[in-house]
Amino acid sequence: MSMLIQGNVWKFGDDVNTDLIIPGKYKLSITDLDELSRHAMEGVDPKFSERFVKGDLIVAGKNFGCGSSREQAPLVLKYIGVGAVIARSFARIFYRNSINIGLPAVECKDIEKISERALLQVDLGRGIIRNLTKNEEYQIKLIPQEIWQILSNGGLVAYVKKHDKLPW
């Protein structure tokens, strides 16, 4: 996985829950990820998956991904090509799920300084976000080693395939 992720920002507010990211009625009726992904973020922006450009970034407020344990929430985001989700804070199951499927989820306290469509460069190695539009730098919360080894290998399944064992 690349340590440098660059993309434009799609900005969301606080408490974006898993039913907004992928409504239960789709999660429980569509098992094909390609079809399911067309409904990504539909609860906030019905046209999101059509307009989203692969490689772009999601920036959100506090408690992103609260609600259900559905792994389909980070999965549809990864499937449409979200480079990273940056939020003030994450709900814990969403956070763990993201890491386990290899979708970078980073916490940053300065999200209010980031505007819609800004061009960001997330440097996971150095733990900073560069706002290339405003020429600013923000710290991201340090990712513990236990989590980093899963994320940097592309997720838990990818880790196991590569190392032929679980990280623990």
Binding site: L20, S29, G67, S69, S89, I93, R96, N97, L156
Partner: protein, 419 residues
Amino acid sequence: MGKTTSEKIFSKASGRDAYAGDIVIAKVDAAMAHDGTALLAIEAFEEMGGKELWDPSRVFLVLDHVAPSATEAFSKVHKRMREFAFKHSANFYEVGSGICHQLMVESGVVQPGSLIVGADSHTCTYGALGAFATGIGSTEIAAVFLSGKLWFKVPETISVVFEGSLPYMVTPKDVILKTVGTVRADGATYQAIEYQGSTIKEMSVEGRLTLCNMAVEMGAKTGIAKPDEKTLEYLKNLGLKPQTTFRSDEDIEYSKKVEFDASELEPQVACPNFVDNVKPVTSVEGVEVNQVFLGSCTNGRMEDLRLAAKILKGKKVKKGIRMIVAPASRGIYLSALKEGLIEVFLRAGCVVCNPGCGPCAGAHQGILSSGEVCVSTSNRNFKGRMGSMEAEMYLVSPATAAATSINREITDPRGLRLE
């Protein structure tokens, strides 16, 4: 300094002296997945080269979210789960058995001091018996199916204290809605909540299950009620003799303490579209309602059904509204049948569904149309959860739900005069 319940359970499960903030590898006592999460778990298990379960007697697979299946796509999910469960000799619960969380509790696998993970956010329910139980995703549950282990960050603990007796028609659901409204949807993220005080002590284990169930609505990793005589009695009735119990020491520091006077509590309502948008029922009385749901892992147990039946006895669900009842398990359904509650519901004009999640997850048995309003005893009222993005959901207690069904508008149950 002493240790919290969570620190004690993680110390036991990881074999090291664990404190809040530590990342530990811990052995789990059981792992559960249901038809909303198991397919991805089975795929991940096989992709990781899984040949056998670490311990089939500790793996639970439950068909409850869309059970019986409502679509062909879902029938495939059920088929795959059945095949996997039979192949690996896991514990398997067929459609109609009930909701995973209730079944886990009834199975006897949940005991004080157990560490349990489930691929469902409401796994935190089991803390009502003094266990540490938390929700995880499908890929992680697959890793647990393989190894019986997982990494955890030992959480800090928030103390939620209720003192005093609950007034007439004020229930454990109102206690937890009040708590969620105060602590807010992210107020306990990554932390454990311990429910304490005389109100909790007086409360039945069923009521404590309601409290712990909604800990995740505050972002908590789990909710825990201190095991006591009531817990032991409950476990005894399940045919169990718990060996160990863990309780927080007296001299511990909580990350936060929130205190309430239960005797002044009014019935509470979580208003659209957030679980922490909580108001007293008096401020939303009169809101017109199209559907009422009584059930779910929050409020589908005997006490909930008894209270609703007490209100509905000899009454009729008002014309223009449908009242859907789903007992949380087959055992509960049978008890309700024996006590005559099911007859009360049917005579009142309710729809009584098979045990399971009912319409809570928005997949069947009562999907809302745009412009409709639903009053539900479940735990989430997110936009679009039970159907249309333009439908609205209010979360209430079984008493408020039943009172609402006979008036077709949100009703304060305290105004009822029962025979």
